[in-house]
Symmetry: C2
Subunit: 446 residues, 2 copies
């Protein structure tokens, strides 16, 4: 540890409470004690500058006769706050006491203060244990923490109960593809792709439930929008009329998230040059069939498959942004062919059950799907028919189908991928940078 | 679905907002619309009784000419609220309209309303998808949800940031035993035992962090206090002086949890006949060495090994309950032999580094350990020495040790097993009943 002789201080540093850099304005002219990391440093011989980074921000400190430790060292600085228009935050601290708490023993592999690193993205992820300290990296994870808190707190005000369901499962919720196998005491098991079936079961207990937990998709392809391990924000509610109740809930949840981001993450959005979207009181809706026709007629884009392709998602979002001023649009009435077995069939105009349209929907935000949701089948006979129609093995779903013998109410829900929503809110090009330690096809460390 | 002819209603049921059973007192003499499950039912020929269960409680409803569906069916009841001293909650609903929303097609495998089921516990877990609807089962999970919320909300008020760290890892945090292997695209990987190393890394980013997530222990033995998948409430804080700062934080967190349980889970504690403990402003502390001596001298119990055994934990708790009126006691200054490599050595009285005592502690609550915590090593050289002393392979910990080159501040933290604390608070004999869908040596379903 480096501890150089320092000028004597009037007040012993330890007797002052710690001040955070964001609160300096309230201490103008006073002595404060700061703790944090050496974000940047410059030694001009007679005078030394240290930019101190703490959890709340950065501040410039200036002293003399200091022997500066390497960047990223933890330090404690005692000094006097002075207004300084050119300093970040408008204040500077004139150092009277400088103590190295824990000295870095190497210079970081990248210059942490730089807002753009001219480094191969894979290298940056290799050094993630320290690159995650970068202001932009930190801002993304802070926004995600507030987003998750906004999701959760709003649901609790609407009477939802938090649940914790198994991630070690004996079969997949969606039928068996893309599962990571686990050796469970010699028995085959898998990592859960989704809490779908469990959250439905828990509607029988608490009526309205949510879970915030990691889920796992063993998808081999590497894209900018997929992770193999991601944080899923899951919701399920009972006693609904149809999927409109679920969409209305999601509309309210999104509005509450944006309120919280405005209150608690404004600085992070500013740092990243991103804007917090307005959530319309009633997010516009369009059926999938009409959406496909719209992008063909308006933009000349032919959509393949049964769903929307990424280009169609982008064009549809563009249309709703331009024509309706909305960053969000619900795409409704998905065909059975693009939905899992538990999706509730829609009703035909004559009241009979549709054989090809479901009450499933997607939510697009700024050109990308961020949610799938909908009403689920609650009737036991209808569920068993659907399992047969999807050519799934009923015995592999036995524990799940069992509960539908016991009066499950009509219910539905949705799931939001936290990293994808974070990335899209902040304009981060790859979803991997919205996770502290991402897992992808080739990455198991750090 | 069963829909029998019903007496005509004066107000169409759909026009009334839904009322929850807990709110009936505010509607005395008024018409209400309830939704929920048929908890119990009795048909006396001329008159029918239905006990309706919704998320907020149960209420007795009475009507005539009704054809009652099976128990657990979802129903909607419209009727008039009347004070009725003998009914649960003090009110009864006189049914004017009874609608089956979703009829059960089988009777449940156990009688849900019974407070004790005379059934093999394994059978009860086999049917967990419906037995979890039992009032006691539901109460335990509700208490756990509030406990977790209390933990999280308090930490947020103290400036902690929520993180989400990988559960798919390339090596174990504690050295390699008791890991579940995963096939990760053909590469060996494991389920994380703890977010320990990742939460330490994140102290370099946010200074104070927490995570609520499942962790995995491939322990073969079946006990009443262990689960193979459990919810870990993890905390790590930087810029501490020593482990006393961590214990003081944990003291505040526990107090906040109990405040929330009093506010939001009083009914659940009453149902389970359990009491919410008082958390002393300063939980008593005793060193492990003194604790071992105390149980030997006072109770004649010889303690084997380096730690406390379950009987010693029970006796020590008994002593602190009787002599100090505290359900909690910190056992401090654990020996290195009973702690992992990252535990920070204690200082000897002369200021030198202890070779055998750490700044690790356990917290006992009502006779059982519910937390391990302590200060961690933050100095790179000290960490590398410790890894060598523990005969671990430094290369298997490379991603982790790397960050200690970059000025990590002194830090420490703790972890609470949510199910174990829930079980102990509620007097539940086996930790498996404090989890919705437990995983144990022989149980992968439901």
């Amino acid at each position: 540890m480096t501890t150089e002789p320092q000028p004597a201080t009037e007040t012993p540093a330890q007797s002052l409470p710690r001040t955070f850099t964001r609160d300096l304005a309230a201490h103008d002219g006073q002595q404060v004690r700061l703790q944090g990391f050496v974000h940047a440093r410059r030694d001009l011989g007679g005078v030394q500058f240290v930019v101190l980074r703490d959890v709340s921000g950065i501040t410039q400190c200036v002293g003399s006769g200091l022997s500066l430790p390497l960047s990223e060292s933890s330090v404690e600085i005692t000094g006097t706050v002075k207004a300084h228009p050119k300093a970040p935050g408008g204040y500077e601290v004139q150092i009277s006491d400088f103590r190295v708490i824990s000295a870095a023993v190497e210079a970081p592999p990248v210059e942490i203060p730089k807002m753009e690193w001219n480094v191969n993205p894979e290298t940056m992820l290799d050094y993630r244990v320290v690159t995650v300290r970068g202001l932009k990296e930190r801002a993304a994870l802070k926004v995600q923490a507030e987003l998750v808190a906004g999701f959760r707190d709003h649901l609790i005000t609407e009477g939802f109960t938090e649940i914790s369901t198994p991630k070690i499962v004996s079969a997949g919720a969606e039928g068996g593809a893309n599962l990571f196998p686990i050796d469970y005491f010699g028995h085959p098991a898998y990592l859960a792709q989704s809490p779908q079936l469990y959250k439905q079961i828990m509607v029988g207990v608490f009526e309205r439930v949510f879970e915030v937990a990691a889920v796992y998709r063993a998808e081999e392809h590497a894209t900018s929008r997929h992770l193999n391990e991601y944080l899923s924000l899951d919701v399920e509610m009972g006693f609904i009329d149809d999927e409109e109740d679920v969409m209305a809930l999601q509309n309210r949840v999104l509005a509450a998230i944006m309120v919280r981001l405005r209150e608690r993450a404004g600085a992070e959005f500013a740092l990243l040059g991103a804007t917090i979207p307005d959530v319309p009181a009633h997010i516009p809706r369009i059926t999938l069939l009409d959406a496909r026709a719209l992008v063909t007629e308006k933009y000349g884009h032919q959509v393949g498959g049964k769903d929307l392709d990424p280009e169609a998602e982008r064009l549809l979002s563009q249309h709703y942004a331009e024509e309706h001023g909305s960053d969000f649009v619900f795409v409704t009435k998905y065909p059975r062919a693009a939905r899992p077995f538990y999706a509730h069939p829609d009703a035909n105009p004559d009241g009979t059950q549709s054989t090809d349209i479901t009450r499933g929907y997607d939510l697009l935000f700024r050109g990308i799907e961020i949610t799938s949701g909908g009403q689920r089948i609650h009737d036991h006979a209808m569920l068993m028919e659907s399992i047969a129609a999807y050519r799934l093995k009923p015995e592999s779903l036995e524990g799940y189908t069992e509960v539908f013998k016991y009066g499950m109410p009509p219910h539905g829900g949705f799931a939001i991928g936290a990293e994808r929503l974070t990335a899209k809110l902040l304009g981060i090009s790859n979803v991997r940078y919205a996770r502290a330690f991402p897992r992808d096809r080739h990455r198991l460390t750090p």
